[in-house]
Amino acid sequence: MVKRTARLIAAAVAAGVALAGCGSGDAGTQASGPVDVTFWGWAAGYDKSVALWNESHPDIHVKYEALPSGGQTGYDKMLTAAKAGTAPCLAQVGYETFSTFLAAGVLQDVSQYVKPQRSEFPDWVWNNVGVNGAAYGVPVDTAPMAMFYRADLFKSANIAIPKTWDEFATAAAAVKAANPQARIMNLPTDPYLYSGFAWQHGASWFGVKGDSWTVSIDSAANAEVGQYWQGLFTQGLVTSYPAFDAALYSAWSKGEVWSEVGPVWSASLIRDNAGDSAGKWSVAPMPRWGTTDAVGNSGGSSTAVMKGCKYPKQATEFALWMSTNDQSVSNLIASAAILPASKSGLANAALDKPESYYGGQAIYQLFRDEAPKVNPNWQWGPVMSATAASLGDGLGKVPTKGGTYQDALSGAQKSTLSALQAQGFSVSK
């Protein structure tokens, strides 16, 4: 009996010690000895930046784990882990999903830790990682768009590189005329890739009016963008492979698809998947809508600090380092083809390096010059997984003629509104 009681007391004491360890608020700031920070992401090169950090920072050990990309199942996994209280300290969260994560209440305010280094980033990028001036993470990159094209094929067919979307349509017809097997581009049916085209045209999807959300995915401006692509598809001027599919990659390699208007990270997508056409690609500015000098953006992500992270200060320190350190940023540019968000990153020498895959062109200079022309006020909604799933379903039906861009946009508008209402967000018409 005595023995048993003693054991119970011992267990209780042990539990108490453990609880104190968890609950203590400043464990994060005063931890002594090396601390462990787990980091979940999927972008290429993150593992190398983490390795670089671990070499030079013995006190804060970062453990990187690769997930499927967020839009696949990565975000689901992060939310699952957050519910179990086993979330990693740091997570790669795209700007498009940031509001969704905030609404789910899985992120941690780290404004106080980023404060000293706030000025090292352009002001507007902070809007992507928090509301009302608070920060829940550190921006890594932005993703302005441009036109990647097969310089060899355009040249031999004597077709001028289009500067506007009207010229692009003309060029599309010329490409098909030059080679009936070839098309100018693959139809953008991935919802996030497509969002870049809407963004460029000022066709906003979400807005904030007072204390409620507005949704405008079916606006006139959005319809205009949708009709443009629907038109090219109906005339048979574009291919319609699934986005990110091996069939598309092989068409790039074989010269059956001559260009891709896409974000900066397409540079690695094309380079790594269409190896046979190395040296034949170039990059030109994204075609414009008439005379409006605006560029689209598709992607860009942050290193977010998740709720439950015991060492938010150290985690933020690493996140800031990853986005600003010279070596880390040049590694990210080389592996993931990013355009850095930080000011020091934008001055990184790697951006001026000629790229042999792109015929020796220093392609990142072009993205750096185009970045200021991206509309900084684009707003993402708080139920993006519902919006993107519905828009993706709709756009997926376009190639098989089961629906049109217009159908997809109004479908997404409808299901976004119902998702917002069902989840208790206030919506104003």
Partner: protein
């Protein structure tokens, strides 16, 4: 479509075991060679249908990078790269693949053994003790046989996330060790194969109930093997539950891991590596199946001919 179908037709193997087997060739029928040829043709056509995708998997796993989608899909490529592919597979992402295989094995073998034990204990008691509430328990368990596991996966996820146990080994293991079908099967089998006299004799000798059970359980062995095999396959092939529950890649079974590689769309894990991984992951189950095959035809069907 997967999980329930792995638990169906409860009585077949057992019932078969207890009856006499009919010789295949009846001396009274003479067979027309043309009929024989026609039957062979039909059976071969279906064999081709069932084997072609497996053949494609085998051939594809031997192809070099970039050869997967060119040339004849159903014949070997320019060079035989199987060894390279397997090496790449086990080195990818810090060797995570062998971890996945190990996880699958742990979930399937561990889950199979524990569920078999729990189910045969429960089935034995349901058959041999007439305690109050027995039929209510059996009825509820029987109803659960009809509820497909995937339908339950989401409710399980809701509960486990409420209690904060998602993303742990147990979130996959615990649901795997409950086999209502196993209880059903072992009750039927215990009722017919464990004689009441055995239990009474044991009690007269002063043996405890568990001691008696350890003797009785030997008579239930064929049913237990069947339960284990069904449960092993059900766990090994399960995808929805672990993909819902687990976020950590190091906890995942091989099915979930391979699908996440497939979702990378060819980079940085190539399709060839995914296909090789699929082939390697199938080998243990197929090996299991070939032994299950002989178990069914020899052990269950003919084993009972005494």
């Amino acid at each position: 479509m997967t999980t329930t179908l792995q638990t169906p037709a409860p009585t077949e193997p057992v019932v078969t075991a207890t009856r006499r087997r009919r010789p295949r060739t009846s001396p009274l029928t003479t067979v027309n060679p043309a009929t024989r040829l026609l039957v062979l043709l039909i059976m071969s056509l279906f064999a081709v249908y069932f084997l072609v995708p497996v053949w494609w998997l085998v051939v594809s796993a031997t192809k070099g990078q970039g050869e997967l989608f060119s040339g004849n899909g159903f014949w070997f490529g320019g060079h035989f790269a199987l060894v390279d592919n397997v090496q790449t597979l086990f080195r990818a992402q810090g060797g995570i693949y062998s971890r996945w295989l190990l996880n699958s094995l742990l979930y399937a073998v561990g889950g199979g053994l524990v569920s078999t034990l729990l189910a045969s204990m429960c089935g034995y008691a349901l058959a041999k003790f007439s305690f109050p509430g027995r039929e209510a328990v059996f009825g509820t368990v029987l109803a659960a046989v009809l509820l497909p596991a995937p339908v339950l996966a989401i409710p399980l996820y809701l509960v486990f996330s409420y209690t904060g146990t998602v993303n742990t080994f147990w979130s996959v293991f615990i649901p795997s060790i409950v086999s209502p079908f196993g209880v059903y099967l072992s009750r039927i089998y215990a009722a017919s194969s464990v004689p009441d006299q055995l239990i009474e004799a044991g009690r007269l000798d002063g043996a405890g109930e568990f001691r008696i059970f350890t003797i009785g359980v030997r008579l239930m062995a064929p049913a237990m093997v069947t339960i284990f095999l069904f449960q092993f396959v059900a766990i090994w092939t399960n995808f929805l539950l672990p993909s819902l529950m687990l976020a950590d890649t190091s906890l995942q079974p091989v099915t979930v891991g391979l699908v996440s590689w497939r979702e990378l769309q060819g980079y940085p894990i190539s399709y060839t590596t995914v296909v090789t991984g699929a082939l390697v992951s199938v080998i243990p189950v197929v090996a299991m199946f070939l032994s299950l095959q002989s178990f069914w035809s020899k052990g269950l069907a003919t084993g009972a001919v005494k």
